[in-house]
């Protein structure tokens, strides 16, 4: 018997949990959610890997290629001007969405991974030297570990790792102790992709800033789920991906404080990032173009802007509230199943339910749920150190978006019982 049976019935999910989100209407905006997989209704619970796209985003991509396609920032012709204007309007949309002071602080990149590599290879290579330290946490995604390892290896610097407790929460006191005069940069996830933990960013950033250490935030798992405000956080760099926030793949954002970006050397050389080139000397373009060598993902930027407008229409605060209720419901429902253990039980969590089932490997869980049309992720979630921390090889992870329903959580719970039945 699960606790779900004791919960009051909400009837139709049209206004689920009374938070003002009309899930049924929202689901109609996402064409893929109507399809079947393996003869079953798709239950998509792999949003931390990538999110689905609303019709408006899909249409924005084809509209761009059908009506606006041209190279930007260089043509004198009509279409080039139009494409340039749309591309730069998307930059303004991003700026406003994360409340960055200036659009020139919004650098378009391929994704979170490229954003972090950019900072490691420019800011990092200038400021990190032999014997210096880069501080990360145990719960980082590989993309916020490996770029720093590469840098430390090259420079003879040390990668230090702030520990977490058994609930998957950062130990702030330990973190503070690891901030030394040798620490040149802190790189930390806003939300852990494997555990769902929301880190106390304000405190982390204040602690680092007291020692004049800049902070890079991996925001890939935060931006789709909550309002983020660069001026409230006061972080120095913030990286996120379009494809996890209902926009297209191959597109991402690096926010950086203008004063830092100005002082950084370029990342890649090429067209667009220059203001003049001779064989003797090249002068670099102004921000943000200095970091945007080559023809960018123009359609991707425009469609990301459309995804943000879509999110704004729903309202980030409503999204956070709805997903919180959904996660609480899922946590109750799944943890009530005998033999299931949750991995990641922080007080502050977003969007992620990682679990293991006694005696059954997550990979087998994933295969059996897939037969029920339920898409989850199984494995180490590109966060192997986290798995080592909890002494497990892998987890099964369900991750939510605002288009997921209580009924889908019920399907997950039923699916888990089916898994146990197969292995009984």
């Amino acid at each position: 018997m699960t606790t779900a049976a004791k919960l009051p019935s909400t009837g139709s999910s049209a206004h689920a949990f009374g938070t003002g989100i009309n899930v049924e209407k929202i689901r109609r905006d996402f064409p893929i959610l109507a399809r079947d997989v393996r003869g079953k209704k798709l239950v998509y619970l792999d949003n931390a890997a990538t999110s689905q796209k609303p019709r408006v985003v899909i249409d924005a991509l084809s509209h761009y290629y059908e009506q606006e396609n041209a190279n930007i920032h260089r043509g004198v012709h009509f279409l080039s001007e139009l494409a340039t204007a749309e591309h730069e309007r998307a930059r303004q949309t991003v700026r406003s969405f994360i409340n960055a002071p200036d659009a020139k602080e919004i650098v378009f990149v391929r994704g979170t991974t490229e954003a972090i590599n950019l900072v490691a290879q420019t800011y990092g290579r200038v400021h990190v030297g032999p014997g210096d330290e880069v501080l990360i946490t145990t719960m980082e995604h590989h993309s916020n570990i490996v770029p720093w390892q590469l840098l430390c290896e090259e420079k003879g610097a040390k990668l230090r790792v702030a520990p977490i407790n058994d609930d998957g929460e950062l130990l702030l006191e330990e973190f503070a102790k690891l901030l030394t005069p040798r620490t040149k940069i802190v790189a930390v996830a806003h939300v852990s992709n494997a555990l769902g933990t929301v880190n106390p960013l304000r405190q982390i950033i204040q602690l680092a800033h007291q020692k004049n250490i800049p902070v890079l935030v991996d925001g890939a798992q935060a931006v789709p789920h909550m309002k983020v405000d660069m001026q409230v956080l006061d972080c120095d760099f913030y990286a996120f991906s379009s494809h996890k926030m209902f926009g297209p793949t191959g597109m991402g954002v690096l926010y950086g404080k203008a004063s830092l970006l100005e002082a950084m050397p370029p990342y890649q050389g090429g067209g667009e990032m220059i203001s003049s080139v001779t064989f003797e000397k090249t002068t670099y373009n102004k921000l943000p173009f200095k970091f945007e060598a080559g023809t960018p993902n123009i359609a991707g930027a425009i469609a990301l802007g459309v995804a943000i407008e879509y999110l704004n229409q729903i309202g980030m605060n409503k999204i956070t509230a709805y997903e919180h209720e959904l996660l609480e419901y899922a946590t109750r429902k799944v943890s009530a199943i005998s033999g299931v253990r949750l991995i990641g039980t922080a007080k502050e969590k977003a969007g992620v339910l990682s679990f293991v089932i006694e005696g059954i490997h997550p990979h087998d869980v994933g295969t059996i749920l897939d037969q029920e049309g339920i898409a989850i992720r199984t494995g180490h979630h590109c966060a192997q150190p986290i798995m080592d921390r909890f002494g497990i090889p892998a987890t099964a992870r369900a991750s939510f978006a605002f288009y997921n329903t209580k009924e889908e959580v019920d399907a997950l719970a039923t699916g888990i019982l089916k898994v146990q039945e197969v292995f009984a």
């Binding site: 393996r38 003869g39 005696g359 059954i360 490997h361 997550p362 990979h363 087998d364 295969t367 059996i368 037969q371 199984t378 494995g379 180490h380 192997q384 798995m387 090889p393 892998a394 197969v422 292995f423």
Partner: protein, 149 residues
Amino acid sequence: MPDLRDLYQEVILEHSKAPRNFHTIAQANQKAEGFNPLCGDHFTVYVTVDGDAIQDIGFQGSGCAISKASASMMTQAVKGKSKAEAKKLFDTFHKLVTTGEANGDRNDLGKLAVFSGVSEFPVRVKCATLAWHTLQAALEGKQEKVSTE
């Protein structure tokens, strides 16, 4: 549409819960480590080879039901066989789990034929073959860790 029971046959579930030869062999003269970085499966295969014969074999490690059952049944199947026979059996087994067919060699497979359902789940082929790749590496005396990627 593939059926779950084709993949999770009783024999496979039984071996995954109670794997045979699931131990180290102190006096093994060949061993190798195999690893699937995508799902974290990790096995060490120990072999005592006498001349050309696989006299004893054991394995340790962790993995999903498919990889564990495959490792368990592999140890039973190759014990007492020659290196060449083990290699041939792996080739036949590999064909079975990738195509569902083993043609004329099906009889050689014996109980291992229960893995034919794996072919309908392409992402699980690596699970079914991890221990076999590891055994090959052990027999060939390879030092580096075997990876499915």
